[in-house]
């Protein structure tokens, strides 16, 4: 969809044209003893209903922080400072009251976490936790209705004998089952935005396949907007319509999935793709790793945060070292000082043959 139109140019003010979820210049900082952590800076993106946005990036690149910011979970008891705009269904969330955001949470927007065991309360049955989620947003529903609804949801996500499992506790479930139950809980109020933060990282491949399948099916059924956060490019390729690549708290590449995978624009994305062995390609003698290691968010490298690891950092004189690149390009944007032509040339010459 029209993700490209976001790239900085002002949109027409009429509300109808706004994507379902739109993030503008999101900035999240944490004040810590060691200094200010710039966990997310200047992030802008959008998702529409029925679409899936994949966010990839290394550990610590700000993926989870972004998702928590959308849900407004940095508001309570946190040292976080959030600025920018978050529009959900034409409502601005950064400036909204706590109560407004709380009302949306679990209702219009909901979230699946990485580790379902620790994300579920150990002392309450899985069923009661789902019932609770339902009743916050449907206060009029009777206990029985809520229960029926919860069992229904459990069945929908593929939990066998849902009536019996309703009364079980999270620790009695297997890893895959737990994640299914988490999903049931997230979906119980038919959210129109679902954020999945590494929903399969803790799971085995065979179970991961089941869960991804489930998410895909459910999205088809509910038509919600989905944000899929992961560090596994394979998972993104499986699910996402659009992809965002984050590095050092910033979006460094953004575009439709096929474009990002087939014609990646940013050297970091090249590195990512080049460094992973792939089952769908012929064997390579050697992998092409990205040298160095990820940056500290307290002490980001000057200029382009990627420059210490970028093989092409010197090609633009000093710019990489001094000037922070902005996300440029339309449909498929990248934050890189190299000119599109240079990139095309380098990609063809250095990268494509090795993929």
């Amino acid at each position: 969809m029209s993700i490209d139109s976001l790239a900085g140019a002002a949109r027409p003010a009429h509300q109808a044209g706004r994507p379902y979820l739109e993030i503008k210049d999101l900035m999240v900082r944490f004040e810590t003893d060691d200094g200010i952590v710039k966990a997310v800076s200047d992030s802008s993106f959008a998702v529409d209903r029925g679409r899936t946005l994949g966010i990839v990036g290394e550990s610590g690149s700000g993926k989870s922080v972004t998702s928590l910011a959308i849900l407004g979970l940095h508001r309570t008891r946190s040292n976080a400072k959030v600025s920018g705009q978050i529009w959900l269904d034409n409502q601005e969330l950064v400036t909204a009251t706590d109560e407004q955001v709380r009302n949306l949470r679990g209702g219009k927007m909901s979230m699946i976490f990485q580790d379902p065991l620790s994300a579920m309360h150990p002392y309450f049955t899985v069923g009661s936790q789902i019932v609770e989620a339902y009743r916050v947003h449907n206060p009029k529903a009777s206990k029985k209705e809520a229960r029926t609804r919860a069992i229904d949801m459990l069945a929908r996500v593929g939990i066998p004998q849902p009536e019996r499992r309703f009364n079980d506790y999270a620790h009695q479930f297997s890893g895959g089952m737990r994640q299914r139950a988490m999903i049931a809980m997230a979906l119980v109020n038919d959210p129109s935005l679902l954020i999945a933060d590494e929903p399969t990282t803790a799971l085995d491949v065979t179970v991961q396949a089941q869960i991804l399948d489930l998410i895909r099916d459910l999205q088809e059924e509910f038509g919600s907007a989905v944000i899929m956060i992961t560090h596994d490019l394979g998972v993104v390729a499986e699910l996402a319509d659009d992809v965002i690549v984050m590095y050092g708290g910033k979006i460094i590449e953004r575009g439709p999935a096929h474009a990002v995978f087939e014609q990646p624009q940013h050297p970091y994305t090249w590195g990512l793709l080049g460094s992973m062995p792939r089952l769908d390609r012929d064997l390579r003698e050697r992998l092409n790793p990205v040298k160095g290691s990820p940056p500290s968010l307290i002490n980001l490298p000057s200029g382009c945060a990627f420059h210490p690891r970028c093989p092409y950092a010197g090609l633009n004189g000093d710019r990489s070292f001094t000037e922070v690149p902005v996300l440029r390009g339309g449909h498929h944007a990248a934050a890189c000082h190299l000119s599109p032509e240079q990139r095309w040339e380098l990609f063809q010459r250095d990268v494509a043959p090795n993929l």
Binding site: E238, L279, K291
Partner: protein, 345 residues
């Protein structure tokens, strides 16, 4: 290829489950339950399987960190299955291990220098040019700055720590290195650095690897042969290319098809061909009778419940390709398609 460096037969490890004041044994986790394999000198044997299938336990048995409950381990023809700590010393020089978690595998209170020199000290290896020099050489070898000799692990990033672990394993110049998921905890961009390093070291020092991982693509990249484990058993073992080209065990097939491919254009095709297993791995405390995979296998028949299939070459396969299955998958066979959401076993 050359002769076998390490051979295991009928290897078993059962962890007792105890209860109560008097530690009565009430059962056992059959983490490794009878595996036979051989590691040839100079090769890399990949071991894959789902979480909890006993890969790490197997690795620890190979390095004799654990003592097997049953079966035999021979290294260069010598039976090391039940040797005492003292008698194991020479063996320790030849077999080393690299661990999964670069954070917990290095003692946070020791400097890099003392971590890497520990094997030299424990094994009392003379270092003519001095321990420090030896350590610094090793640091250089794994691509770290030799000046970091006096630093502590927390001052390094994950990838660098893994290099320290590798340097420690290399210190004794072993013949065999068992690497237990050495890259699983690393980010993709770093993972490749370590894989390449392992590659380089193998050729430089003539190392033999047992490479344990759950990531099939990494295993494919690095291994010469691959063993697939399921619930404490090896279900299939073959030369790498043979295995990836024509997996015979339904579990291997399912495992491979479940790997997400980073290519959106192949998404639909991949989905159509995907084998979706239902359910989870059963508990190793109470494994299913007969073929252990039968509870999740779409081809399972009665015999699978009663008779355990041996690990042997199946029809049309070379001797090196062994499968433990009554009904191995034939190439081109239509496998079970997508299962609808909510289907259950």
């Amino acid at each position: 290829m050359s002769e076998n460096l390490l051979e295991v037969t009928g290897l078993q490890k059962h962890f007792p489950i105890t209860k109560g004041l008097f530690k009565r044994q009430v059962g056992a986790v059959r983490a490794v339950d009878g595996i036979d394999l051989a590691v040839r000198a100079g090769e890399t044997l990949g071991v894959v399987g789902e979480s909890g299938c006993g890969k790490s336990t197997a690795g620890r048995l190979f390095t004799r960190i654990l003592e097997p409950t049953g079966g035999r381990i021979t290294f260069e023809g010598r039976d090391v299955s039940h040797l005492s700590t003292a008698a194991l010393r020479p063996f320790r020089r030849d077999v080393q291990m690299i661990f999964q978690d670069p954070y917990s595998s290095l003692n946070p209170r020791h400097t890099v220098g003392s971590i890497i020199s520990a094997p030299l000290q424990i094994q009392k290896i003379p270092t003519p040019q001095g321990t420090k020099k030896a350590v610094q050489e090793l640091l250089e070898l794994v691509g770290l700055n030799p000046e970091h000799y006096n630093r502590y692990p927390h001052e390094f990033s994950g990838g660098q720590r893994q290099r320290i672990g590798i340097a420690r394993a290399l210190a004794l110049r072993p013949k065999l290195i068992v690497a237990d998921e050495p890259v699983s905890a690393l980010d993709v961009s770093i993972q490749a650095q370590v894989v390449n390093l392992l590659d380089d070291l193998q050729s430089e020092f003539d190392l033999t690897y047992v490479f344990i991982a759950h990531d099939l693509s990494v295993v494919r990249h690095i291994s010469d042969r691959v063993a697939v484990m399921y619930l404490g058993k090896v279900v299939e073992i073959a030369e790498r290319d043979a295995l990836y080209a024509s997996p015979r065990h339904p579990y291997t097939v399912a495992l491979m098809s479940a790997v997400p491919v980073p290519d959106p254009s192949r998404r639909d095709r991949a989905q159509r061909n995907r084998v979706l297993l239902t359910g989870d791995v059963p508990s190793p405390i109470n494994p299913p009778s007969g073929c252990r995979f039968r509870t999740r296998c779409w081809k399972a028949q009665e015999i699978c419940a009663t008779e355990e299939p041996p690990l042997v070459p199946r029809a049309g396969d070379p001797a090196s390709h062994q499968t433990a299955c009554h009904f191995p998958v034939v190439e081109g066979e239509a496998v079970q398609g997508r299962s609808p959401a909510g289907a259950s076993a």
